[in-house]
Symmetry: C2
Subunit: 382 residues, 2 copies
């Protein structure tokens, strides 16, 4: 039996949608099916430039795409301020939702999206690609190894890139009405996600923004950072910026091992990626050298990470569509935790770099709220 195919619709012709179109083409269980833009002409040009198969649908409005009964899933690369409106509508139209990061302007907005997806039984996943690379699984293996890594003590992550004057003037990521979270919602999202990844998605108790974030004239964050604190003494720091040369690091230090990766968001090369690790490193007797050096681990992949993301998302969609399985909650849970920390950093900046306590209870109570909603809706549907 041929693998079931998920038919994707894309809302808008954002630059990132070109990369995703290729990924959908590469994923064995997905196909490009429709694209919508307020300009029919733009959508037609996008489809022809990005390998849409003959017969693909071109829509002159987002609503029209959502009304197409043959669209299984929708990829939403719209500016963040439009997420809640369109994402909720996608879910209400019973389409599965692949949503660009940051998922929303804040967790409260994202909760509306989660609620809509849960109540409509559709899969929700955010567009964080690197977590789908097989390298990430290999790193997780190392980080969770009591013998090789031990307990996490400290993690530092950075994602910076030097944007050009055109970006700093015109990109949606520097516009308060489009991507109000600026660098924090864009580059910072990855830093925070990678910190949560190394901490096995345990939320910190406290978040404090570093001082002197750089803002543009409209008050949008161009660079910032924060420190995060856990109950057990773990500490994390990160720095994200539109103003520094391209850098994307995770450095995780455990009681017994350490890990370095320098291209975690987008690997240098598509087909292979590496990380460095060492366990129980020490000095020689005279302290003039190390007893061992970190080892380089190379992980190859046939498909690029964005295609692996589409494949995983489509697999879950097929499970729901053909096997009547429930949507996988781990993906929106990770998104929500990431968004919670984004919110906390933003709040700390807005409050003059005060510590912000991550309300485990609120987080839990929201999750319980969802469980409650689900039960209620389940009640309604039975």
């Amino acid at each position: 039996m041929a693998e079931p195919i998920v038919r994707f619709g894309i809302l808008g012709c954002a630059d990132i949608a070109r990369k995703l179109s290729r990924a959908i083409t590469l994923a064995p269980n997905a196909t490009l099916y429709a694209v919508a833009s307020r300009s029919n002409e733009k959508a037609t040009a996008f489809a022809s430039a990005n390998g849409f198969p003959p017969g693909s649908k071109i829509y002159g409005s987002y609503e029209a795409l959502l009304d197409d009964p043959d669209v299984d899933a929708v990829y939403v690369p719209l500016p963040t301020s439009l997420h809640v409106h369109w994402a909720v509508l996608v879910a209400q139209k019973k389409k599965h939702l692949l949503l660009e990061k940051p998922v929303a302007l804040n967790a409260a907005e994202f909760d509306k999206i989660i609620e809509a997806c849960e109540s409509n039984g559709v899969q929700l996943m955010d567009g964080t690609m690197w977590v789908h690379h097989p390298r990430t699984a290999k790193m997780a293996e190392f980080l969770s190894d009591e013998c090789r890594f031990g307990r996490l003590q400290k993690v530092h992550t950075m994602f910076t890139f030097a944007s050009d004057p055109d970006f700093l003037k015109n990109d949606i990521r520097v516009k308060p009405d489009l991507d109000a979270l600026g660098s924090l919602g864009d580059a910072g999202w990855y830093c925070i996600r990678s910190i949560l990844f190394t901490a096995n998605f345990e939320l910190p108790k406290t978040v404090i923004a570093l001082r002197d974030p750089q803002l543009n004239e409209a008050g949008v964050i161009l660079s910032c950072g924060a420190s995060l604190y856990w109950e057990d003494g773990k500490v994390a720091t990160f720095h994200c910026s539109f103003l520094g040369n391209l850098t994307m690091d995770i450095t995780a230090i455990g009681t017994k091992g350490s890990l370095h990766v320098h291209d975690f968001v987008i690997p240098y090369q598509e087909k292979e990626a590496s990380f460095f690790s060492v366990s129980e490193a020490g000095f020689n007797d005279l302290v003039t050298g190390w007893t061992k050096e970190p080892s380089k681990h190379i992980v190859t992949t046939e498909l690029p990470q964005e295609a692996l993301m589409v494949r995983e998302f489509s697999r879950l969609v097929c499970d729901i569509k053909f096997k009547s399985l429930k949507p996988e909650k781990k993906w929106p849970t990770m998104s929500r935790k990431t968004q919670l920390i984004v919110d906390a950093v933003k709040t700390s900046i807005d409050k003059g770099f005060e510590p912000v306590h991550i309300n485990e209870h609120a987080s839990v109570s929201v999750l319980s709220g969802l469980d409650y909603l689900k039960k209620n809706l389940l009640g309604k549907s039975t």
Copy 2:
């Protein structure tokens, strides 16, 4: 003409003195001449185990070594709390001073040492070895290159090592009466020095300790960190610890380039060391890979960095002794700036993680005070 030789005396038989004894032996312009310990037996064993030439002097007290007119320079690896007493005495005995780090318990103490060295016309240098490695000069070249690195935006440094239970119980670095600064004075010293190095020794305006430093029962710091802020928006963070697997990183991000080094304090190997740099890195058109990867730069050295330190110190000593040159002020100036930041981090911790402003003026006024003293002493000696 044979190179003039500096005769070293060593105060005490600390573990680190073994490494320094070898370095003195390797340096072409230095020789091991005397060692002192409160136990004559211990000093004799140390001298015989560490390559002291025949005829070397063994002293049963530090004072006796300082009274030996043939000792040119003294290496002081004593616990930090003893530095000010013995370092001042070394200077008063007109011996040049190679002083282990941290140089003192605080900058006010260190100022007494500087004052004693200045007024006695002796060279003062601290025992930070990595700055003498030729790799450091190569990194400085890159960091100061407007085209390849641009302006520094962010630097993160870490030095952690996982100490064993014996260290955590017995090492002088966890004893409040010996090395009260704990991990901050030991591993943190290197982090701070490397931050100042990347910032071209411009002092930050503000220092804030990260929360949740780990202390032992006696209140000595086992792990901590801080964020540092400059007038122009530069930000630095560091983390130092006795509790994490061996890691020693500098990551410096400029507007045009970035630099990584993973063994900055003690290179993996003695004869060669490397760092990684990349300039104007970007993404390919579809943002599926980098336009260029960081390059590895290997720097070889005939002499290990600690021998290069001894050689540089001895060169300055010979310049003073045989050419009547003045002591080189750049070394104590770097030490003092490092100590000022150590003090600021400690103060921030003690004050509940409040921001501490680095008083440029106080720093300047202290330097002016020294100039004043020097002029006065010059007045006296003419």
